[in-house]
Symmetry: C2
Amino acid sequence: MRGAMTANWIATDWGTSRLRVWVMDARDQVIAELSSARGVNLLGPADYEPTLLDLLERHLPRRGKLPVLICGMAGSRQGWVQAPYVSVPCAPPDVRQAMAVETEDKRLDVRILPGVSQSDPADVMRGEETRIAGFMAAHPNFDGVVCLPGTHTKWVQVSAGEIVSFRTAMTGELFALLSDRSILRHSLTDKGWDEPAFVAALQDAMGAPQHLTARLFGLRAESLLENLPPRAARARLSGLLIGVDLAGAKGYWLGQNVAVVGSGGLAGHYVRALTEQGVAPLRADAADMTLAGLRAARKAAA
Amino acid sequence: MRGAMTANWIATDWGTSRLRVWVMDARDQVIAELSSARGVNLLGPADYEPTLLDLLERHLPRRGKLPVLICGMAGSRQGWVQAPYVSVPCAPPDVRQAMAVETEDKRLDVRILPGVSQSDPADVMRGEETRIAGFMAAHPNFDGVVCLPGTHTKWVQVSAGEIVSFRTAMTGELFALLSDRSILRHSLTDKGWDEPAFVAALQDAMGAPQHLTARLFGLRAESLLENLPPRAARARLSGLLIGVDLAGAKGYWLGQNVAVVGSGGLAGHYVRALTEQGVAPLRADAADMTLAGLRAARKAAA
């Protein structure tokens, strides 16, 4: 038997802007956690294997193969190898449905988990299905909605161990575009926060989502005419976008058990927004759920 | 008296991305039209005078001063000299309210027209007030709403020769950000158009604006799953954004006389969108109205 510090398999979250790996031992415990900025948006198909070999150098076996299980955008059309979607309703995909990737280096046994798709309305996820698998492993009897805030926020209806339906909104990507690249960048700051301003904008957008694109320009106008503090402008921008998201996703969260799986400030803003609507969401950390989901996906084959 | 080909004054539209001048003779006729890509977003305060001298070289007087009347973002905080706003309700500002700019070269007599502001809800315009002045000069009895499609689309209530109130939506800027810089760029094309797709998205967004940010991601998902044609994705993106704009601006256009002052495809899309709602808008060209507005602003002093 290999020692406790010998890598038994590699859990991998390969997203758009970040690569994160957990080196796992034979008892399924983490012996090292590594990460890199070499996300999918920086890589061509030929770059994946060298990136992985680089990062895993110290953990490669002298003989035999090291299993590497990957979730996330590495399985997309713009990624390493396309891992076709599994369609809802479905359990989160596991290693038996993963796409095997041929590598030059024979010490690697790479498998990429599929994403999940929905045909009507058309929607896709890659990576979130694995966080959901992790959340289900921790809450086996959960029946309700999992909200995964992010660049593309997902609302996912989960029942009897399956993903039933889901909805994606471009909330995080719009926030980034508007605060970094639009006229609003002059009026915002990347620091600070104004919670009452966030809540007021949230309620405003939920009640009158048709005013979104005018309220956005209003942040610029108030900044010019009334010296709106940048931290208030930033909180209001977030409140407007999350408010429209919640208004549109009401069919998902209203009267349901809700869990927010995310990290950092954004997850906190969704929790606050849901709490304002009388929902008391469970919370779980995104990275923890990813690791738990990769563990569950691997175990399914045992 | 100077000859007909001698410059009597210069009508100038100095916007964010473009500088446009009309060289006018003593009978107020255009003797030359010049333009440059040296818009406000490329210039520091010291760059304006050399840019103008460069462009006007052949038209500078041997003696005396050449009046240059400017509208647009050159009068903003990020511009040449800040020309303070006039507050609604007000007639479009004229040369008597313009800000005189001191120049090194004594052959220039530069004046920048103010923008117009509104305090509740906070809103601002710079340049559009001059197009409105031009439209009013051509339609002295117009009472209704002028829609000016653009990066920041304006809806302006005009009555008895005054700007009464207005509303700005970030429609054009969002379209540009989403089609050039978001995940949607992979699914769109900068050519082609699908009118039925535009109209369907328009109606969808007007009826359910709370779904905007999810419908945006839906374009990406349909492109991945169903090979949505890029020209249809582009038309739908436009329809969704214009639909939310029209839903929010309903208080402006419903049951009113409406005029669309704009140019190119975008103005056409607004005309089509309004026509779908049973409005039969007047149409006028943006550049024509700018020139007419600068003429009217100058004449006010006579």
